[in-house]
């Protein structure tokens, strides 16, 4: 599988971009932690130099308060990635537990849990997130938590389906015949065989979470200023759209590249994990 992934130029390219993004995020997170203003303080205002177009002084221009867009983008990277990854980890974590219980137990437990999933899926998830964030108050922690609590249904269904089919497999029967306990069967025999598809959906779920965070921030319900995120740079810049295109374009491109590379990596993993018969 690793060999097939490496032979896939698109997925490998996207993986390289992802690694660069992760390095950037880690770097600027550390800088922020130690309050090192590199390349400059992202929150430093300069009203005399506001709304400057991209040029040698400010590579990607400045915003309405004269803050350097490039610096703010770099410092916003870790927020976007962190929100995307942590929200997905929370969501998939809940989904795995619910799906595993549902698929392994079957019967009425399965029925009850799946009706809950159905009910959750009836709500348009973005509006659900909006409502809850509005009620709890916008903050980075709340955004991540709510996206996790809302986004688990898809992975719960997937995990349930995997468990349903693996539960009936011969090696699970053999493990039962060997006197293995239910927990032993779930953790030792079923989960490792279901881990591949679970990981792939998790990776494919990250771009959606990043876009949700950007949308929430754009609507003012995401991460609050002055902390810069890609979403709220766009949100702040929308008033100046006609005069200062760079305020919208660059964060938009950053979101696009990130979401796209997660998607391409996830898709590459999915294809690499397929068996020969499934590919044909």
């Amino acid at each position: 599988m690793r060999r097939r992934f490496r032979a896939d130029p698109v997925a490998m390219g996207a993986a390289v971009v992802l690694v660069l993004l992760l390095v950037t995020a880690a770097l600027f997170f550390t800088l922020r932690l130690f309050q090192i203003p590199f390349p400059a303080n992202p929150d430093l205002t300069d009203l005399a130099g506001k709304l400057r177009p991209p040029g040698p002084d400010a590579w990607l221009g400045t915003d309405n308060l004269g803050r350097d867009v490039c610096t703010r983008l770099l410092h916003g990277t870790y927020i976007s990635l962190m929100v995307g990854v942590v929200a997905v980890v929370v969501a998939v974590g809940i989904g795995v537990v619910v799906g595993a219980v549902s698929g392994y137990a079957g019967g009425w437990v399965d029925n009850v849990l799946m009706r809950i999933v159905d009910a959750m899926m009836c709500f348009p998830s973005f509006f659900l997130i909006l409502t809850v964030v509005a009620l709890l108050g916008p903050s980075l922690f709340n955004v991540i938590l709510v996206m996790g609590l809302v986004g688990w249904t898809g992975s719960a269904r997937l995990v349930r389906a995997e468990f349903l089919s693996l539960r009936e497999s011969e090696y699970v029967r053999a493990a039962r015949a060997l006197g293995q306990s239910h927990l032993g069967i779930v953790f030792r025999h079923i989960f490792p065989n279901a881990a591949g598809p679970i990981f792939v959906t998790a990776v494919l779920g990250v771009p959606g979470a990043i876009l949700s965070e950007a949308s929430l921030s754009f609507l003012g319900l995401g991460v609050q200023p002055p902390q810069s995120t890609w979403g709220n740079i766009i949100a702040d810049g929308r008033t100046y759209l006609l005069d200062a295109w760079w305020l919208i374009l660059f964060p938009g491109v950053a979101i696009l590249i990130t979401a796209l590379s997660f998607y391409l990596v996830g898709d590459g993993l999915r294809r690499a994990a397929q068996t020969k018969r499934e590919r044909e």
Partner: protein, 282 residues
């Protein structure tokens, strides 16, 4: 009968209840297997022999399966009344299974070492050097170069080697009874013979009993001490292998024996068993 029986099944009845109907898969089956004895349970697909085998340690999914009558005594205790923990100790520990399809009975993501090691750790926690024990069993079931095989994954082994690994896994817990459910059906004829011979040799060495489940009367002959013939959920005939083969009493047994292909005869077609007629008769 001086030796105590490894297992005694009395009047066992298993019913499957589902929305589409009720099926009595096992109806009043009684059998006993003595220490070190090989009993062959013979019958066609759907005759209830696999259900009987799985019922011995309650491996059937309940529901839809339901025990409607009987008891299963293992070491004087009724399996049907055991707690989950007791059941787990019986499964693998006293009664071990080898299934039909070795390629799917081994978990594809684990190597041989961790699968057999799992069995040993579950039932023989006192074993210190698990690796050495695994190697000893791999060697005993006739896997060449066992130390090298520890790190092999199931897909790297041939069907015969996979089945040997399954047998090693089953025997590594020192069971009193090995239930072999069509252990050679998925294998080619040469390997079949080797595996059966291996099971017999190990049975003699270890002194365990074997319940061999098969639809093939041909392999019963050299292997089983006694034969029980199952038809439509009932045991219709039971007795010493030689006697049953020589003088089958029940028409179904006669029909099954007639289905063994023989070399050197001019038989052009094997007979077909007429179920309707047999069911009407008995």
């Amino acid at each position: 009968m001086n030796e105590p029986n490894v297992i005694e099944v009395e009047n066992l009845g298993v019913r499957f209840e589902s929305e589409s109907g009720v099926v009595d898969a096992v109806r009043g089956v009684s059998l006993r297997i003595g220490k070190g004895e090989t009993l062959a349970l013979v019958g066609e697909s759907g005759s209830g022999k696999s259900v009987t085998a799985l019922a011995l340690t309650r491996l059937l999914p309940e529901p839809p399966a339901k025990f409607v009558s009987g008891r299963i005594l293992v070491g004087g205790e009724d399996v049907l009344k055991m707690s989950r923990a007791q059941l787990r100790a019986v499964r693998g520990g006293r009664i071990a299974y080898v299934f039909q399809e070795p390629s799917t009975s081994l978990n594809p993501v684990f190597n041989i070492r961790s699968q057999i090691g799992e069995a040993i750790r579950l039932h023989r926690p006192e074993v210190k050097d698990v690796d050495a024990e695994i190697i000893r069993w791999l060697d005993r079931v006739g896997i060449p170069d066992p130390a090298q095989r520890l790190r092999s994954y199931p897909h790297e082994l041939s069907g015969g080697m996979q089945q040997r690994a399954m047998i090693a896994m089953a025997l590594s817990c020192n069971p009193d009874l090995l239930v072999a459910d069509e252990p050679t059906t998925a294998l080619d004829v040469t390997t079949q013979a080797q595996i059966l011979e291996q099971i017999q040799r190990l049975r003699r060495e270890i002194g365990m009993a074997v319940l061999l489940i098969t639809h093939n009367f041909g392999i019963v002959k050299g292997v089983a001490d006694r034969v029980a013939v199952m038809f439509r959920g009932r045991i219709v005939e039971q007795g010493e292998t030689a006697r049953v083969l020589a003088e089958p009493q029940h028409p179904y047994t006669r029909a099954l024996i007639a289905c063994i292909p023989r070399l050197g005869t001019n038989q052009r077609r094997l007979p077909v068993i007429d179920h309707e007629a047999l069911a009407a008769e008995g």
